[in-house]
């Protein structure tokens, strides 16, 4: 087939445009687990609404102004032999018009913006679930003062109930970002900030630190787990076992064993031996220096450097969203944290043997 | 070489004014920081209040307002003195110029000495840069002002030596005027700092 020259020229111009369109479509068709464009809560919906309002206005302005520019470039290109153009110096009426029109458009954006500012600044009602969020280099801690739960990495919230996050940091400035439910809020030492949201779907969603906070800022993620009310109640009950906020974390080994067997639906004696062996390694390997763990002398500690591990087996990721919680990943992490997350503050006092690592992996995974 | 300027003003004078404009923001930032941290020190000694440390050590309010008032007054007078010296320089009255310029420099030196005494006294009393926010913001603010006074004194002394060697005839009085402008600015800044730090409780 021979294309006519005009078509060929046409194709030469439009081929890159078509390619670009295909690229955009391919790019947009992907699923972005951390997108801000698919809000799943009231706060994020409010924000999205404001954003989309500005986007439509901006798109209109963009088409008009760039259109005028391109039109002028094409229309007024130099033609040989043309006379000198009229030497206009300006036009006061035009100046006034193109001052007032943008100002009016901005006023139309400003009104809903201000309304949204005050709406988002409102305090949530008393029925809101209170959660304390604490930033650490480089992981997130979550405390539920009313439910007496201390956890990290996974923020469980009940769908349909407003959650009020009261946020601070243990070290440097971070920013807590949950794209699908709310925006970001910076956290400052010795200061509390808050943000609230109500999830309207269940599921697991990603979020991460958005303020540069040092070497591993790029690996300071977390998951928001939006549970149905029943799931949330079950999660609450299991997490309360051994909590440092209940009875100072004091629980007998046998009580812990019963709870763990129930959580894992496994009542075999093998569980007891894994627990005993794991605890021994946990103490001997030096884990105890930085981590609170039920059944150990540090079970009640709330100010340690590392996250509380009493229910680590129930979390979706390890090392703050770096790796999914699997046996292999956990083993790799315990062998050499620095190879998984270079610069991480977790320093092993001594390298662990393969045997110790597998004992710990089994032990930690049981702590659901 | 004299260049006719677009404004008719002397170019060096415009430069000094421009520089002073920029310096205003420098001191505004320092003073703002002092004000932001006023009363937010976690431990004493405090500027205007007594303080007893957890270990039972007692601290009186640390500022010595009387001494600093004298220094302030002398610095203010020195602004007048430098005007008189400039008048002498412009009219070719050598004695008047040298005398008042000398007096200005002496006031400046007294002010610096007062500040050196004040700083050593504070350190002796237990207020250092690192003690609390008051120490940090006070020493930084007044220290930078003191540095400016010192540079002013060096500049005025240079002009004084020139004058002494007969190199400041009336047509070159501008050399003194530039230093005088800077000196006035340094005084004016102190007129803001003094009430903010010493009088406001």
């Amino acid at each position: 087939m021979f294309l006519r020259p005009a078509i060929r020229r046409y194709a030469r111009v439009w081929a890159p445009v078509a390619l670009l369109l295909v690229l955009v479509l391919v790019g947009c068709a992907k699923d972005y687990p951390q997108t801000t464009l698919a809000p799943k809560g009231d706060f994020a919906r409010l924000v999205d609404h404001i954003f989309m309002t500005t986007v439509w206005w901006a798109l209109g302005v963009f088409i008009l102004v760039e259109g005028a520019l391109v039109y002028a470039i094409v229309k007024f290109r130099h033609k040989p032999g043309a006379a000198e153009p009229a030497q206009t110096h300006g036009n006061t009426t035009l100046e006034i018009v193109w001052t007032i029109i943008p100002a009016a458009i901005l006023a139309l954006i400003a009104v809903p913006t201000v309304r949204a500012i005050f709406r988002t600044a409102q305090e949530p009602g008393a029925e809101a679930l209170q959660v304390e969020v604490i930033g650490h280099q480089w992981w997130w801690e979550f405390r539920y003062p009313d439910l007496k739960i201390v956890t990290a990495g996974d923020l469980h919230v009940p769908m349909g109930q407003t959650v009020n996050l009261r946020m601070t940091t243990a070290d440097v400035v971070h920013s807590f970002w949950i794209p699908q439910f709310a925006g970001k809020r910076d956290v400052f030492p010795r200061r509390f900030n808050n943000i609230w949201f109500k999830a309207d779907t269940t599921g697991v969603f990603s979020g991460q630190c958005a303020e540069f906070c040092g070497v591993e800022h790029g690996r300071m993620a977390f998951r928001v787990v939006s549970d149905s009310p029943e799931e949330f109640a079950a999660w609450t009950a299991s997490q309360q076992s051994g909590s440092p906020m209940i009875n100072g974390g004091n629980m007998t080994d046998s009580a812990i064993a019963i709870a763990i067997k129930a959580a894992n639906h496994d009542t075999s004696a093998a569980v007891d031996s894994v627990l005993a062996r794991g605890k021994a390694v946990f103490l001997a390997g030096g884990c105890i220096g930085c981590h609170a763990m039920e059944g150990t002398p540090m079970a009640g500690m709330m100010q340690l450097v590392g996250p509380n591990l009493s229910h680590v087996g129930s979390r979706h990721t390890i090392a703050a969203g770096t790796l999914p919680m699997t046996d292999e990943n956990l083993a790799a992490w315990l062998h050499n944290p620095d190879s998984v997350k270079p610069g991480v503050l977790m320093k092993l006092p001594r390298p662990l043997t393969d045997d110790e690592v597998s004992a710990l992996v089994a032990y930690l995974k049981l702590h659901k | 070489m004299e260049i006719e300027t677009a404004t008719g003003l002397d170019t060096r004078k415009v430069a000094i004014w421009t520089f002073i404009g920029s310096e205003c923001l420098f001191f505004a930032t320092l003073i703002s920081t002092y004000l932001v941290y006023r009363g937010r020190s976690l431990v004493g000694p405090f500027p205007h209040e007594e303080w007893t440390s957890p270990t039972g050590q007692h601290f009186e309010p640390i500022l010595e307002i009387k001494l600093v008032t004298i220094g302030t007054a002398l610095l203010l007078f020195s602004s007048l003195f430098v005007v008189l010296a400039l008048y002498g320089a412009q009219k070719g009255k050598r004695g008047m110029m040298l005398g008042w310029l000398g007096a200005t420099i002496m006031c400046g030196i007294f002010f610096i000495s007062m500040q050196v005494y004040e700083f050593t006294h504070f350190v002796h009393e237990g207020l250092k840069l690192s003690t609390n926010l008051f120490g940090a913001s006070f020493f930084t603010l007044t220290g930078f002002h003191g540095t400016h006074v010192t540079i002013g004194v060096i500049w005025l002394t240079t002009v004084f030596i020139l004058a002494l060697r007969g190199k400041l005839p009336p047509e070159k009085a501008l050399n003194l005027e530039l230093a005088a402008l800077y000196w006035h600015f340094v005084d004016v800044v102190w007129i803001v700092i003094f009430p903010v730090v010493y009088l406001m409780k």
């Binding site: 790019g27 972005y32 951390q34 997108t35 801000t36 994020a44 409010l46 954003f51 500005t54 901006a58 963009f62 102004v65 760039e66 520019l69 002028a72 470039i73 007024f76 206009t88 110096h89 300006g90 035009l94 193109w98 100002a103 954006i109 400003a110 913006t113 988002t120 280099q137 440097v172 400035v173 794209p179 925006g183 970001k184 809020r185 910076d186 200061r191 808050n194 991460q208 630190c209 958005a210 303020e211 540069f212 040092g214 070497v215 800022h217 790029g218 | 070489m1 677009a6 170019t11 920029s22 923001l25 930032t29 941290y37 250092k128 840069l129 609390n132 926010l133 120490g135 940090a136 913001s137």
Partner: protein, 605 residues
């Protein structure tokens, strides 16, 4: 003709060559070239840093560089591009053009001008020397406390950043005083303020911003340095200090800094568009006043960088509304640029292409700016790649496109040779395509959840596709500047001379030879209107003849001096004392500075 007799007279000011003549030069044109060459070298370094960043991010979970190195790369990329590339490239134009455009023989203080350059050079070298010690700054160009405090950044990285920025601040302030006074004082007869070329106007406003913004960062850096080295607690919460104060002080400087980077670009484009449209700038007065208004408002919007800190609804509302208000004078500028080309005869020479692309790209950057002027929307956008896209559309699509337009436009004036049009156009198209391929997808990536300043991202977030495309774009951009270098090299080798007025220019610099003699104007011009050269040509009914040779006999020019570089060295040594932690170095620096200043003050001009 009276001038023909002079043609054969020996040049009074024979152009001296050799290294020493450059070290001791006080000629604003030579200093301008020094600024340009140095800034371009730093621009290439910053560009290489950007390419390394793009390689690392091309695919998820890459280990091309370590997290430490990555953090140093993005910190130095930002710091270099802002302080060592765009600002001094603008300074090149200030230096070279302001005296020529206002009809002066030099700046108000030629030696201070030389000192500014040397201080800038030393500052840039100190900052970049940190690479040799594996201690390049690694806490971002914004250096947020308390991460930058000793406890969390124990190395010398942050000290290099503080010391480098302080030295560069001195250079900027000294230059700002100089150019401010030059514009106020040395305008030719008849050049009233409202007859100044618009580039001079925008430069003038920039100097005011520099004078008012830099003292603030100077104080903030002093306090951070004292926290790190003298035990104060300005930004340490344990001692009662407040990291938020750092953010306020930084952005009180940082936002006007944005206008310091863009206003000279506005000026360049406002010169280029009329010349290649054969039509005067549309709405001169509106351009001047909108520039002033932008600068004024620029000091009232700093907290829009801090919406996520939770300032409360009233502060949010104030800063949001003022930020939106800035869009109005900015819009006025864009409309006036379109008004300028409207009805003209557009000649698409390379400078014009870059200037038109500037307008097109800046519109995009401006519109995304309005999107995060809204605090609730900004809670999603801040610290994501959406913001990275936005400010590259204003800083690269804006400043760099405009400065490149200026480089092609004034190159013949500066070096007496024309850059190649073919290579220029290749440079343009590669840069335009590379730029958009690099930065446009960042809008999507940011909105889809990719934060800034992350050294990698997990595969499951699906950012890999766009990031790979961005990396291709970045290399296209790099290639475009390779073409530019080839162009400069080719021109440098050629013998073809450029005429005094190759573009049919409107401003005074085109009335004198290319390159201009040391004294610029044999006879100081008298100005009667806004586009003095066009008026002259219209009166004559055609192009002006090549200006006659003038030996410069009887024109007094300031003599060269090495004291500016000595003083600059003293200033650099003083600040480096804080790096080595050895007070004697500081004292030596102070003494050297005083030696320089005194010798310079008592040296015959």
């Amino acid at each position: 003709m009276a001038t023909t007799a002079l043609d054969h007279a020996p040049a009074h000011h024979a152009e001296k060559t050799g290294l020493w003549s450059w070290i001791t030069t006080v000629d604003h044109k030579r200093i301008g070239i020094l600024y340009g060459a140095t800034a371009f070298a730093f621009f290439l370094i910053g560009g290489i840093e950007a390419l390394l960043i793009r390689i690392q991010l091309a695919q998820p979970d890459q280990k091309f560089v370590s997290p430490e190195t990555y953090n140093q790369l993005f910190t130095m990329h930002g710091t270099t591009m802002i302080f060592l590339a765009v600002m001094p490239l603008s300074a090149m134009f200030f230096n070279y053009l302001i005296p020529l455009m206002i009809g002066a023989r030099d700046v108000a203080f030629p030696r201070l001008n030389a000192m500014s350059y040397w201080v800038f050079l030393f500052g840039g070298l100190v900052l970049n020397s940190s690479w040799l010690f594996h201690s390049a700054p690694d806490s971002g160009w914004f250096g947020y406390a308390n991460l930058t405090e000793k406890q969390y950044s124990p190395g010398a990285n942050v000290d290099f950043w503080i010391v480098g920025l302080q030295i560069l601040g001195i250079a900027s302030l000294a230059a700002a005083v100089n150019f401010f006074v030059t514009i106020v004082q040395l305008r030719a007869k008849g050049m009233r303020l409202m007859r100044m070329p618009i580039f001079v106007w925008m430069s003038f406003i920039t100097q005011v911003l520099l004078l008012l913004a830099f003292p603030v960062i100077t104080v903030a850096l002093v306090m951070l340095l004292m926290d790190r080295q003298f035990g104060t607690h300005f930004f340490i919460p344990a001692g009662g200090g407040d990291p938020i104060l750092w953010q306020h002080l930084f952005w009180v400087f940082g936002h006007p800094e944005v206008y310091i980077l863009i206003l000279p670009a506005f000026g360049v484009v406002s010169e280029v568009l009329p010349v290649f449209s054969r039509k005067p700038l549309f709405g001169y007065a509106a351009m001047v006043f909108s520039g002033c208004f932008i600068a004024f408002l620029g000091f009232g919007v700093w907290s829009h960088h801090m919406f996520a800190t939770g300032m409360g609804p009233f502060a949010d509302t104030f800063f949001s509304l003022v930020t939106m208000l800035i869009a109005v004078p900015t819009g006025v500028k864009i409309f006036n640029w379109i008004g300028t080309i409207w009805g003209g005869q557009l000649h698409f020479k390379t400078p014009m292409l870059f200037a038109l692309a500037f307008v097109a790209m800046f519109i995009i950057g401006g519109l995304s700016g309005v999107m995060h002027a809204s605090p609730p929307a900004d809670l999603q956008q801040t610290d994501t790649y959406f913001v990275v896209a936005h400010f590259h559309y204003v800083m690269f699509g804006g400043s760099i496109f405009a400065l490149t337009a200026g480089a092609y436009y004034w190159y013949p004036k500066m070096f007496g040779k024309m850059l190649d049009e073919g290579l220029g156009k290749l440079h343009f198209w590669l840069m335009l395509i590379g730029f958009n391929v690099t930065f446009f997808p960042m809008h999507f990536v940011g909105l889809n959840g990719m934060p800034r300043r992350v050294y990698t991202y997990p595969a499951e977030l699906n950012f890999g596709f766009w990031n790979l495309i961005e990396t291709f774009g970045a290399f296209t951009l790099g290639l475009s500047f390779l073409v530019f270098i080839v162009n400069v090299y080719k021109t440098w080798r050629s013998d073809a001379k450029a005429p005094a007025d190759p573009w049919n220019g409107a401003t005074l610099e085109w009335a004198i030879p290319s390159p201009p003699p040391e004294f610029n104007f044999a006879e100081l011009p008298v100005v009667v209107g806004r586009d003095p050269l066009w008026e002259l040509k219209r009166q004559r009914g055609g192009m002006l003849p090549e200006p006659p040779f003038h030996s410069g006999q009887g024109i007094h020019m300031p003599s060269p001096s090495y004291w500016p570089i000595v003083t600059a060295l003293g200033i650099a040594v003083f600040f480096c004392g804080f790096l080595v932690g050895f007070p004697y170095v500081n004292i030596a620096g102070v003494l050297l500075t005083f030696l320089g200043i005194y010798s310079w003050a008592f040296e015959p001009a």
